[in-house]
């Protein structure tokens, strides 16, 4: 078994980035879309071009928090015969081949529920994950997964949304570990042209209540979104559908999309750096 040092810990990553004066970029992919070899190359490309964390998606048949781009990604991956077990083997391979970024596994609750929570958490830990996000697991139902994660030293990442208010927001903030995932919009994953003003207000509001790292996701697809989010107090951003949209235009040879994806990742990361610099100026 490979042992992973503290440098892979999520908190260490945020500390390191803060010292360097950068926001964090987390890139979300669904593994196996459209095939495993491409996913491996895609994740490597993202990590080499600015992604500080990888959100490693295990596809699910009914991804109710995802918009059209990721629904299609899940469908393609599953049609290709992808299974949770093969995803976990893929993660193991990425680690073996030198992936250094912290990995947050994301999937819908029936996948760990079906495998058994303890076994699922043990297997992704063994493969090299640092945390897990389950978008259909409410804070109210999360105790069992948090317990199983605790045994393995895995963070269960909680999400907060524009609709999360008052006492609940405080309870979730108090229970958060790793980072808080801020859902930017009322809706599902997917790219948006504009960032809403209310999104930045949400980030500022949560920022004023907690020092835990905040990662802003949903609807992020442009550098200017990233600059605004990070300068408003987010510690980083998540992009997902935007990446899938680039290669899904070239499904016959998705590798051809890698240069464009590399450029995209560099730009998002540049936004993370610029946003952080502006944040310091604002103070």
């Amino acid at each position: 078994m490979i042992s992973y040092s503290d440098t892979l810990k999520i908190s260490s990553k945020f500390d390191e980035l803060k010292k360097r004066g950068e926001g964090a970029y987390m890139a979300h992919v669904y593994y196996g879309d459209p095939n495993e070899e491409f996913s491996i190359r895609l994740i490597r490309t993202l990590a080499e071009n600015g992604a500080d964390l990888i959100e490693f998606g295990i596809p699910f048949s009914d991804p109710t928090a995802d918009g059209p781009a990721f629904q299609a990604a899940c469908e393609r991956s599953l049609r290709g015969g992808m299974t949770p077990k093969r995803c976990i083997e893929g993660l193991e391979r990425l680690r073996r081949e030198g992936l250094k970024a912290p990995v947050v596994v994301t999937t819908y609750y029936n996948i760990p529920y079906s495998m058994g929570l303890e076994r699922f958490m043990a297997e992704i830990k063994e493969a090299g994950a640092q945390a897990v996000i389950v978008p259909d697991l409410s804070f109210e139902e999360a105790d069992e997964l948090v317990r199983a994660g605790g045994k393995q030293g895995l963070d269960v990442i909680f999400q907060i949304a524009p609709t999360t208010e008052g006492a609940r927001l405080n309870r979730i903030i108090d229970a958060a570990s790793g980072f808080l995932y801020v859902i930017n919009v009322e809706g599902v994953t997917g790219t948006k042209k504009e960032l809403q003003r209310s999104t930045l207000e949400l980030i500022r509001g949560v920022r004023s209540r907690t020092g835990i790292p905040l990662m802003a996701g949903f609807g992020v697809s442009k550098k200017e979104h990233v600059v605004d989010l990070v300068s408003s107090g987010a510690d980083g951003v998540v992009t997902g559908s935007a990446i899938a949209e680039i290669y899904s235009r070239k499904l016959d040879g998705p590798e051809d999309a890698l240069p464009e994806i590399a450029r995209f990742a560099r730009e998002i990361k540049a936004g993370c750096v610029e946003g952080f610099a502006r944040r310091s100026l604002n103070r």
Partner: protein
């Protein structure tokens, strides 16, 4: 004990975006539903608009055929042609008292969509109905009814274009609009508090059965048989009898063509507990936890999950789960037409088919109530196509 649990089943497995509205809904239901004002309006509409109480009909000819006394609880006579209006009226009233501006829902056979459009009009809320494209083909007459009633029917092309996908798309739509919009959940499924709300509004069926059998037959029935997938008509009929241990309860799901995992909707025969659409339910799924599409000719039973309450009642043995194959269902339609002159919905015909095929489950002096959940006008094309295929 967590909220909204029925044994291991139930719970609230949803995006954080939806938790606040679920909390708001539960609070509103607990506060508004018991008030005299709400109850007067709800009961009044069920009576004067819906036509409740629906009759309990002694099916003499069918009884003669099977050899025991069979009563039909005539939910087909509820306005709209099925039991669905009970729940739709209740939730639409609740939505309007919560000051929601719009109703969204999903439908498979179209019966729930029709009742939601009716109820939306009563309370003055616009209604959007998500429906799988395959179901829109199969249940074309109900699509027309919904549109005539002013409902906006939105075709669902994701996944397999069936009910499971329509529920997913309605949940997605709700995450974008929960502040102003009520999701009028059509069956006893979904995250808490939906299974509890739907069962509460549907339990009028069982309350009436209890009083009517007592009056007509002088006692409680020996058995109640209901079809279902999510289980709203079954839970509604069973609820007042769950503590009456001498009353046997039968829940009949879609057997499809055969008990082969890819041709069937029998989640109790082939599924296991899992999490879908907000709750732990009995679910058809593969070994990895990916949800399987169900298959049956009856759109209204074509859902891979069983609501938390019926899942629990079947798991603990209080309710016996059975199934009926498509071919026996079409035969049950024929028998029903010829014996009693009634055309049942294909869904309802599952309960009848089970009784016809499993006479040994019942004694000669048994009193059996079939929850006759809906009428079959919507299925005429399917029924005729089937009889032509056979020739």
């Amino acid at each position: 004990m967590k909220k909204g649990r029925f044994g291991i089943f139930g719970g609230q497995y949803v995006s954080e975006l939806l938790m606040p509205v679920l909390i708001e809904l539960e609070e509103a239901f607990d506060r508004i539903c018991p008030t005299e004002d709400f109850q007067r309006r709800f009961r009044g509409l069920l009576r004067d608009y819906g036509g409740r109480p629906t009759p309990l009909y002694y099916a003499q000819n069918l009884s003669g055929l099977v050899g025991f006394r069979v009563y039909l609880k005539r939910e087909d006579l509820l306005c709209g042609g099925s039991h669905k209006l009970n729940n739709s009226l209740g939730q639409a009233l609740l939505a309007s008292r919560m000051n929601k501006k719009r109703i969204i829902t999903e439908t498979a056979a179209g019966q729930h969509g029709v009742s939601a459009a009716m109820a939306g009009n009563i309370v003055g809320l616009e209604t959007e109905i998500f429906m799988g494209v395959k179901d829109m083909e199969r249940q074309e007459s109900n699509v027309k009814r919904m549109r005539l009633l002013g409902g906006r029917v939105t075709p669902v092309t994701t996944g397999y274009g069936l009910l499971k996908d329509a529920v997913s798309d309605t949940l997605r739509e709700w995450t974008t609009s929960s502040r102003t919009t009520h999701y009028l959940m059509g069956s006893a499924v979904g995250p808490h508090p939906f299974p509890m709300i739907v069962a509460t509004f549907q339990s009028v069926i069982g309350e009436e059965i209890k009083a009517q059998v007592l009056e007509k037959d002088g006692g409680l029935p020996d058995a109640i048989v209901a079809c279902g997938s999510g289980g709203s008509n079954a839970v509604g009929a069973f609820r007042p009898f769950i503590e009456e241990k001498d009353v046997r309860l039968y829940f009949i799901e879609g057997g499809g063509e055969s008990l082969d995992a890819d041709n069937c909707a029998a989640a109790f025969a082939l599924g296991r507990p899992g999490v879908l659409h907000g709750a732990v339910m009995q679910i058809l799924q593969d070994e990895h936890g990916q949800i399987k599409p169900s298959r049956t000719r009856a759109s209204g039973l074509n859902y891979p999950g069983r609501g938390p309450e019926i899942s629990h009642l079947c798991q603990t043995g209080r309710v016996k789960a059975g199934y009926a194959f498509d071919r026996d269902v079409f035969e049950a339609v024929r028998v029903m037409c010829r014996t009693e002159g009634l055309i049942p919905a294909l869904e309802t015909a599952h309960a009848i088919a089970y009784v016809l095929k499993n006479k040994e489950d019942f004694d000669r002096d048994d009193v059996v109530v079939i929850n006759y959940s809906g009428r079959g006008d919507k299925d005429l094309d399917l029924i005729f196509r089937h009889s032509e295929d056979k020739q």
